[in-house]
């Protein structure tokens, strides 16, 4: 791989990095004018754009592209240096569809201008912003930019009209707003509007020390709170080189999987409610409450857990937890049969789900999707297998994969993932070693060494990546969250084109969105 890249991209500074320490295999420094060439190379070689973010180093800005390959995981970081005064870079939105949205985000938060970008209007922020939020020295937004950045204006033609879906709409699962352009009953185009729940998590990270940020990730994705908590804690551990005792790793695995089941159950309920069936909602919440009871006993909260600490856990699990988890596994296997009869074999549901919202492999790559969405399209890409973290390398499980990439497949994948999670919990409970649950000598105020690190975990919604830049002080210099729902949501305009509103709701539901995670 390395030789191929070297041969294809002469004149670019390429260096190999230590993957266990940094989280990426290769680092590249490209110039502004080389971006298109580099990105074109990765596109031709089947890479997907995992993340695109920006870091403000005061004397210069750095655009950071992360590429990865689904078939043979190999993460490449491409850094592009930009001038702090009127920064500009060419857009790659015509190569990778997802970068359209990433670039809009960067433009909004850093003022980087992307040449030839079709629409650089505000995505997250309200119109009253006067300085770029994530710039270190409060750079003012220029007046002409404010006009450009302000919300888009929509014009109706003779045969079309607009439907405004959200932000207060029961089936958007939060405060998402989608503007849909209709031609009669069919959707011509649609555009998601974000930022109704932008809570400045990334900015907050730069304002407090490492330990103080622990409660935040759980509030980003409240359904997969433990997975988000884990991603943050493990990133910091990776950067500071803290070794975690094995018992803690197993407990992390068990609790995360319980959390994943709870999240999938809620999704099943909410998704079926979108389609018009309220009964599964009650069933799913009944099972979910059982998981919450188990987790509440050890974590102390019902929803927004912050259970993990640097080097271990907040407290150890007891016999009650273990018995509760075992009892839950037995109960859940029986309940899955009920779900099977109630939903999977339901003719109305099958007709609504089969053959609708088909996402093919190429589009999945262009949008950088992950989680059940990508596995529904037939790509066995799961961070638990690809880049094992916690104790996943010691547990044996299979990744369920779909065939068609339609709504039905995404549904079946999630149901089968509940089964795999049950297996993982069962085997991890058996193997659970005794010993300490916290690493010794973790300082109260962490000061990780200077450098950057990328770490991913598999949240219930997909690949969650944290890119952390440290300057050696108590507070993170920059923390970027690559959230799974973001790239999954952006497939919606593509999937919804030409469908009816009712199908669009089904598609939106099948993507399993959590809005605070997208808005951060």
């Amino acid at each position: 791989m390395l030789e191929n890249i070297r041969a294809a991209l002469p004149g670019i500074n390429i260096s190999e990095t230590s993957y266990p320490e940094r989280g990426y295999h290769l680092a590249m420094d490209a110039g502004r004018e080389q971006i298109l060439k580099v990105v074109g190379f990765f596109d031709n070689n089947g890479f997907c754009l995992e993340d695109l973010c920006c870091v403000d180093y005061v004397d210069h800005l750095e655009l950071v592209y992360f590429f990865n390959k689904h078939s043979e995981p190999y993460r490449v970081k491409v850094a592009v240096r930009l001038e702090p005064d009127k920064p500009a870079a060419p857009t790659i939105s015509d190569i990778y569809a997802i970068s359209h949205w990433y670039e809009r985000e960067i433009h909004e938060f850093y003022g980087v201008y992307f040449e030839n970008h079709p629409n650089l209007a505000y995505l997250f922020l309200h119109d009253g912003i006067d300085s770029y939020p994530l710039r270190k020295n409060m750079t003012k937004v220029p007046e002409e930019d404010k006009r450009l950045l302000g919300s888009s204006v929509y014009k109706e033609s003779e045969d079309t009209f607009f439907v405004n879906l959200g932000p207060q709409h029961p089936s958007t699962h939060g405060v998402l707003r989608v503007i849909i352009k209709m031609d009669g009953e069919y959707i011509l185009s649609s555009e998601p509007m974000l930022g109704y729940l932008h809570r400045m998590h990334e900015k907050m990270a730069e304002n407090r020390n490492y330990a103080q940020f622990i409660p935040n990730p759980g509030r980003m994705d409240y359904l997969g709170a433990l997975n988000f908590n884990l991603a943050y804690v493990e990133t910091v551990e990776k950067l500071s080189g803290i070794a975690v005792p094995e018992r803690a790793l197993y407990i992390r695995t068990i609790t995360c999987e319980l959390n994943r089941i709870a999240s999938h159950l809620l999704w099943i309920g909410a998704f079926l409610a979108d389609l018009g069936g309220l009964t599964p909602f009650l069933y799913a919440f009944d099972d979910r409450e059982n998981i919450l009871d188990i987790l509440e006993g050890v974590t102390g909260s019902r929803l927004t857990y912050s259970y993990f600490r640097f080097g271990g856990l907040y407290n150890d699990v007891d016999e009650r937890f273990k018995d509760g988890a075992r009892a839950f596994i037995q109960r859940m296997w029986k309940r899955l049969d009920i779900y099977d009869q109630l939903i999977t074999k339901n003719v109305i549901f099958i007709n609504r789900a089969k053959g609708v919202g088909i996402l093919d492999r190429n589009m999945v790559r262009k949008f950088g999707c992950s989680g059940p969405v990508i596995r529904g399209s037939g790509i066995p890409f799961d961070m638990r297998k690809v880049e094992p973290y916690a104790a996943y390398s010691n547990t044996d499980f299979e990744i369920p994969v779909g065939a068609n990439g339609d709504i039905m497949d995404r549904y079946l994948i999630r149901v089968r993932e509940i089964e795999t999670s049950l297996q993982i919990i069962g085997s991890a409970l058996e193997k659970l070693p005794s010993g300490p649950f916290n690493a010794e000598k973790v300082p109260k105020i962490l000061k990780p060494p200077k450098g950057d690190v990328y770490h991913t975990v598999e949240s219930p919604r997909g690949q969650l990546g944290v890119y952390l830049v440290s300057d050696g002080s108590e507070t993170p210099y920059r923390m970027r969250w690559r959230v799974p729902s973001y790239s999954n949501l952006m497939t919606f305009p593509y999937l919804a084109q030409g469908t009816l509103i009712a199908d669009a709701i089904a598609i939106l539901g099948s993507l399993d969105l959590v809005i605070p995670e997208i808005d951060r």
Binding site: L125, H126, G128, I129, P133, P167, Q168, H169, P170, G174, V175, G195, Y196, L197, H198, R199, M200, K203, M204, N207, R208, P215, N216, R219, Y222, L223, L266, F281, L282, F285, D286, R288, E289, R302, L303, T304, I515, P516
Partner: protein, 170 residues
């Protein structure tokens, strides 16, 4: 916590029908229809409260309406951002009188954990936008907390508490 006039627009009605008003208040307190409107994490706990185990329907408040025009009670369940603020006010204004607002969770009460120097996007308390009747603290509050808030609201509407306060055991 005094009793508020049921008519928000007219402070004192010209003719008072004390008994009728009392009966109406009792009816209102026992059939609060909340607006189905979730903002953030607290919305999930609000859903849990409405589901089988906690069953908000026991108190007549289980019928979540998707349109503000049929709702009496707005449960602000989560962080209100500056982009969301005008829409929240619109929703409130679309609700017919008499109407009540319950601020659920620390974010809705005061901005919660998202308040710090230099923050640019969070409204520090929903009471800056609409009048709030009951505050339920927590991050997020437990379903029992929300139910207690609901009973407080009933108390505010009728003037009497329907259920006895549970004994303190600790």
């Amino acid at each position: 916590m005094g009793k508020r006039s049921i008519y928000l627009e007219t402070k004192d009605p010209i003719i008072k029908f004390a008994l009728v008003e009392k009966v109406l208040d009792l009816a209102r307190a026992n059939s609060l229809w909340p607006l189905q409107f979730g903002l953030a994490c607290c919305a999930i706990e609000m859903m849990s409260t409405a589901m089988a185990r906690f069953d908000m329907d026991r108190f007549g408040a289980g019928i979540f309406r998707s349109t503000p025009r049929q709702a009496d009670l707005m449960i602000v369940s989560g962080t209100v951002t500056k982009k969301m603020a005008p829409l929240l006010v619109t929703l409130y204004e679309q609700m017919p009188s008499p109407k009540w607002v319950l601020a659920m969770g620390n974010c809705a009460i005061s901005g919660g954990p998202f308040v710090y120097e230099g923050q640019y996007n969070v409204v520090e308390g929903v009471d800056l936008l609409v009048p709030v009747d009951v505050y339920v603290p927590g991050c997020p509050p437990r379903p029992e907390g929300l139910l207690e808030g609901l009973m407080k609201l009933e108390e505010k509407i009728t003037g009497t508490r329907r259920f006895p306060t549970p004994e303190k055991r600790w």
